[in-house]
């Protein structure tokens, strides 16, 4: 009986069809994060990955032996080829964001992203790794089924209806699990050391000159506040790893997580990390709530437009 209900819950969780709007919105956020990452890297494409890069390809291969998904091992090692690789990568990321040939472009973006990480593992952060793993599952997701050029083409050809057809969300679930694991692993790693448990960790982080970004008010750097901050970060990471699956707590945790990441984005110089992680929050939002939010935005936009044009609103328009 228990096994049967567990099996039913498992199948419902991974395969009960739902609207593809969360994964489509994630595709847009994900593609934007990849484009921003490439844009930030742009002045140093050749310094990190070129023929005369900081680390040569043979050194990297010696340090990380074995078969790797790395296109740099197959393309000619000239600066022109490596530059072209990046332009193709960027072009593909743009096409993925707008949802044109979505599956093909998600595969290209995943291949290129994996390649640049394998080419130089010494400059990557957790956000890059998350993008890579999420990118793999995005290949199998119906990411182009909504808010995309692919859907517009489908409508134009008469293959798509008025609203996107529900799809199996298993790939979306895998990305959600990956995000929860990221938080839980981070929590486990932190409780191993005394600094987080004693509440002194943030003292060290906020006194690392190389990591500082915008000024933080002095009262927030008081030892008591830093202790509260350290313990709150632990509690939040645990909650986002485990309690995020409790439906009643989900939106509160997502709001706290959003505040947490925005405060880190303001105070610490860790480019793109917060946005890479936040991009996946949309996957935890109920598709019905996305539809409600979208309708609300459209109504507001319509009311504003009508007022601007001086047109009286029809009685049936709320």
């Amino acid at each position: 009986m228990i096994i049967k209900s567990l099996t039913t819950a498992w199948i419902r969780f991974f395969f009960a069809e739902q609207s593809p709007t969360p994964i489509a919105l994630f595709r847009i956020a994900y593609g934007t994060a990849v484009i921003a990452t490439l844009w930030l890297l742009r002045p140093d494409w050749l310094a990190w990955y070129g023929r005369h890069a900081w680390i040569s390809l043979p050194t990297m291969q010696a340090l990380e032996p074995g078969r790797r998904l790395n296109l740099f091992t197959v393309i000619p090692q000239t600066d022109a080829w490596i530059d072209s690789f990046f332009w193709v990568f960027l072009g593909s990321a743009i096409l993925l964001t707008v949802g044109f040939l979505t599956r093909v472009n998600s595969a290209i973006v995943f291949l290129c992203l994996t390649s640049i990480q394998q080419r130089n593992l010494f400059i990557t952060h957790g956000g890059d790794t998350f993008l890579r793993v999420a990118g793999f599952f995005l290949i199998f997701a119906p990411a182009g089924a909504a808010f995309s050029v692919d859907r517009l083409i489908g409508i134009w050809r008469g293959k798509e209806g008025k609203s996107p057809r529900p799809r199996s969300p298993w790939a979306q679930r895998m990305i959600q699990i990956q995000l929860a694991l990221l938080y839980f692993a981070s929590f486990c790693w932190k409780v191993k050391g005394p600094a987080w448990l004693q509440g002194t960790a943030l003292f060290y982080i906020y006194h690392l000159d190389a990591l500082k970004r915008f000024p933080v008010p002095a009262w927030l750097l008081h030892p008591t506040m830093l202790k509260i901050g350290s313990w709150s970060a632990l509690a939040l990471e645990f909650s986002l790893g485990i309690l995020i699956w409790v439906k009643d707590l989900r939106y509160i945790l997502l709001a706290l997580g959003l505040l947490f990441h925005l405060s880190l984005e303001y105070s610490l110089n860790i480019p793109m990390f917060q946005w890479d992680i936040l991009s996946a929050y949309i996957l935890f939002v109920d598709p019905a709530d996305i539809t409600r939010a979208w309708d609300w935005i459209m109504r507001r936009a319509f009311v504003k437009k009508a007022r601007w044009l001086g047109t009286p609103l029809r009685p049936n328009v709320r």
Partner: protein, 90 residues
């Protein structure tokens, strides 16, 4: 990093990450490549780098009384020395 503008820091943060990884002894196979890159970047046809020395600079972060903080003096430690060969500059 500390000397860069907020904007440049955002673009160049990967250099901080890279330097952090370089200081880990288990990554010492990277040092010759890094020395060669610095030699190439600092050589011209007229003046060529002969020796590259990687120096690690560090300053301990120590909480003072009542959680106060005063920067400690900086220490220097030679990480690696490399004699530049002519073929490194090609």
């Amino acid at each position: 990093m500390e000397q860069l503008s907020v904007r440049d820091r955002y673009f160049k943060e990967r250099y901080r990450k890279f330097a952090e990884n370089l200081q880990n002894d288990k990554n010492d196979p990277l040092w010759p490549d890094v020395a060669r890159y610095i030699a190439r970047a600092n050589s011209t046809a007229a003046t060529q780098a002969k020796t590259i020395i990687l120096v690690q600079e560090s300053s301990a972060i120590t909480p003072g009384a009542q959680g106060s903080y005063r920067p400690e003096p900086w220490d220097q430690h030679v990480l690696y020395g490399y004699g530049v060969k002519p073929e490194d500059l090609r």
